[in-house]
């Protein structure tokens, strides 16, 4: 040690006053000037070590804190990593997508009257995916029916396994399990379930629905709900549903006596097959069976729908009791309903809870068909889901 101390003092004077000519020509940072002697080498190595250590340490801290260049660009409230987000755009953009995201955190307003809500938008090369977390609004005039239009369309397939959720090639939704946030109560102003849904745009409606895209969206929506539950501190993880999901919906080759595949429901005149558009029907057992006929821009000319899950049927509770239309007659305590020129519905009180039977046309051109179809549709579907016998009569057109 003492040796090197001596060396050091010697060298410092030498370095300052007797730098050899060939060294002076070199800039101070030249490696030969920096390492020209043992002490100098030591000082240089020390400085390099400290700098390197500081960099490494700082990087480590940054990595730990997920800051700076190590910031984890997780999208949609932290549920998706970059790769997950890119995978969602698979087939929509060429190669691996560079996904940008922006989001509004999931919060509830001060009174809690609107439930929790939040949004997340993913974009890549002109494609976009919209993710929403919200409590479905059951109020008349609320978003319920409009949401149902898109997210309960016949293109979607139930996720199965008792889950309250569905997926198609462009839409997916899943309710947060009751065990985590409680069951929605009909006493609430908007007693709908809290769902996370995704929309990836539009498809040509006449295309068959494959399995790949619905599987991808089903997994994504399960991941979003699992992440939401974990953030809430709830126990349990929903398993990948894709193995047990029913087949995608099929285009029906309708029989004359089984409109929408419902036995005993005769096809009205003028609804024959082979004309414009095709008829698509949901498969699987609940929560919803939808039959969409002749769809244009996601709007079916005629929809026949059975909403079996009581938490979802709540979306139609208020509408069914709207007395301004012609109410239908049913057995005492069997339920409520009405018909009008473009719509007929019955909200049944089944053993499982409220069940909605709905027939809706995009125009009021064929009011007689709705009046003819509704009682038969309700009777046949009620039998299928175990809510029969259910007989309703429609008032004469006055």
């Amino acid at each position: 040690m003492s040796d090197s101390e001596n060396d050091n003092s010697d060298e410092r004077t030498a370095g300052d006053k007797h730098v050899p000519l060939h060294e002076r020509r070199r800039p101070w940072w030249h490696w030969q000037r920096l390492t020209g002697s043992r002490p100098r080498l030591g000082v240089t190595m020390g400085v390099i070590g400290v700098v390197a250590g500081a960099l490494l340490g700082g990087a480590g801290v940054a990595w730990q804190a997920e800051a700076g260049p190590f910031a984890d660009d997780r999208a949609c409230w932290g549920a998706f990593g970059q790769d997950d987000a890119a995978a969602l755009f698979e087939g929509r953009t060429g190669g691996k997508a560079d996904v940008k995201s922006s989001e509004v955190p999931i919060t509830s307003d001060r009174t809690g009257a609107e439930g929790s809500s939040g949004q997340c938008l993913l974009t890549a090369d002109g494609s976009r995916i919209t993710v929403q977390a919200h409590q479905l609004d059951t109020r008349f005039g609320g978003a319920g029916d409009q949401w149902a239009d898109e997210f309960l369309s016949a293109r979607l397939t139930p996720l199965g396994g008792g889950l309250l959720g569905m997926a198609s090639d462009t839409r997916a939704w899943l309710a947060v399990p009751d065990g985590c946030i409680g069951r929605p109560r009909d006493a609430d102003v908007n007693g709908g379930p809290t769902v996370i849904d995704m929309a990836t745009g539009w498809t040509i409606y006449d295309d068959e629905v494959g399995t790949e895209a619905p599987d991808r969206l089903a997994r994504a929506v399960v991941r979003l709900v699992n992440h939401y539950m974990a953030e809430k501190g709830c126990t349990g993880t929903i398993a990948d549903p894709t193995g047990r999901m029913p087949e995608p919906p099929r285009f029906l080759d309708e029989q004359k006596d089984a409109m929408c595949g419902v036995k005993g429901l005769p096809l009205p005149r003028g609804y024959g097959s082979g004309s414009l558009g095709r008829t698509l029907v949901t498969r699987g057992a609940g929560p919803v069976r939808t039959c969409d006929r002749r769809v244009l821009f996601h709007h079916p000319e005629l929809r026949l729908m059975t909403v079996e899950d009581p938490r979802l049927a709540m979306l139609y509770e208020r509408l069914s009791r709207d007395g301004a239309k012609d109410p239908v007659k049913a057995g005492d305590q069997d339920g409520y309903g009405f018909v009008r020129d473009d719509m007929g519905m019955f909200q049944a009180e089944c053993q499982t809870g409220p069940v909605t039977f709905l027939i809706r046309a995009d125009s009021a051109r064929r009011p007689a068909d709705i009046r003819t179809l509704l009682p038969r549709f309700v009777a046949a579907e009620a039998d299928r889901i175990g809510c029969g016998p259910l007989h309703i009569t429609v008032p004469a057109k006055g």
Partner: protein, 369 residues
């Protein structure tokens, strides 16, 4: 180092080696958090650990004055297929007006076969499966309402006479004031948490009893559906045709539990005092259904009934085939001397819902309603 170490050096090396081993072991346990003396207690045959989730196992539960958590347990053995464990919490606090309040919580787990006596067994089944109990996640053969629960164990744990063995969990909680006692929350953490408590304790008990399956029972999924709220304004109970209770319904409330292919319950209670009017239950899930084995008689309970059954003073039970599965309906009531056909109405309405032939005799002309 080539020479053998001398005495002093060898001692130093030994001590040094021991220190190194201890430090390494300590570092290991610290890193993996497996210190054997972490001061955390465990209960019910090692199934539940202190601070592992639910409130009654938390450290905070002991923060109050004079707080203690004690447990008693008797483990099942291969020779004795019964076990019980109890975790008790006791704490004292002073209310805002200076009164002393004693908080008492007790959580009890029982391991053992379904009761042998038919009457006691029906009461036992109805107590766990009725009212607000909902099925456990992951298709486990059990139920929970968040305060209590039942899990039927695999066939390997059945008794010699074929009764299934079950793990049950019960809880009580009360706040004792100087002049009154109020019911409280036992801090089990709701039905998702009870499902996990049941599965953990079932796995440990089966290990002790020597009937553990190759793969331990598991619960991963969340609880998807909770029961609807109690209904007090009604005349038709549980939306079931034929359960029109008329004016009597004014003082009653009904609670619908699960309504699935596996399980359905409808409980009607007095609004005041919560006394039972009746509890109606349908069980088709195979392992839950096995709880009734040997207690549903050998012939039809009365003329016109399908399957076998027993009409006793406090219960009526009937079992019939439904699409290849046993379909069992049970009604419990303080006294079934009443002649109103609620049981028959329930049995046939539920049979119809799941797509089966009627179980009770159908009145002529009344088949549709």
């Amino acid at each position: 180092m080539k020479k053998l170490l001398g005495g002093a050096r060898r001692r130093a090396a030994l001590v040094g080696g021991a220190v190194v081993v201890l430090v390494a072991a300590g570092a290991g346990t610290w890193a993996t958090d497996t210190w054997p003396f972490d001061g955390k207690d465990s209960y019910c045959w090692g199934a539940w650990k202190e601070d592992s989730g639910p409130g009654f196992l938390s450290r905070e539960a002991l923060d109050e004055d004079n707080a203690s958590r004690t447990s008693k347990e008797t483990a099942p053995t291969p020779r004795r297929q019964r076990g019980r464990c109890t975790v008790s919490l006791h704490s004292e606090r002073f209310s805002s007006d200076g009164d002393k309040v004693v908080e008492k919580t007790e959580v009890t787990v029982d391991y053992g076969p379904a009761p042998e006596s038919a009457a006691r067994r029906m009461e036992w089944i109805g107590g766990y499966l009725g009212d607000r109990a909902m099925p456990l996640p992951d298709s486990l053969p059990g139920v929970s309402d968040g305060r209590s629960g039942l899990l039927v164990l695999p066939k390997g744990c059945d008794t010699h006479d074929g009764r299934p063995t079950a793990v049950t969990l019960d809880s009580t909680a009360e706040s004792v004031y100087s002049d009154s006692t109020m019911p409280g929350d036992a801090g089990l953490g709701g039905s998702p948490s009870v499902a996990r408590l049941l599965v953990a304790v079932a796995n440990h008990a089966m290990e002790k009893a020597g009937c553990a399956p190759d793969q331990p029972l598991e619960v991963d999924s969340p609880v998807l559906t909770l029961p609807e709220s109690r209904e007090t304004f009604f005349t038709r109970a549980c939306r079931i045709r034929g359960l029109e209770l008329g004016e009597e319904a004014e003082d009653l409330a009904y609670q619908v539990g699960p309504v699935t292919r596996d399980l359905q319950s409808c409980s009607v209670r007095q609004v005041r005092g919560d006394g039972r009017y009746f509890d109606a239950l349908m069980v088709a899930e195979p392992r839950l259904s096995a709880l009734f084995d040997g207690a549903t008689g050998s012939k039809a309970p009365a003329r016109g009934w399908r399957g076998t059954g027993v009409f006793a003073d406090t219960y009526k039970v009937v079992r019939a085939d439904c699409a290849g599965r046993p379909f069992t309906v049970l009604m419990l009531a303080p006294s079934l001397h009443e002649t109103r056909p609620y049981f028959a109405a329930f049995a046939n309405a539920v049979a119809r819902r799941v797509g089966c032939a009627p179980v009770a005799p159908v009145a002529p002309g009344g088949s549709d309603r």
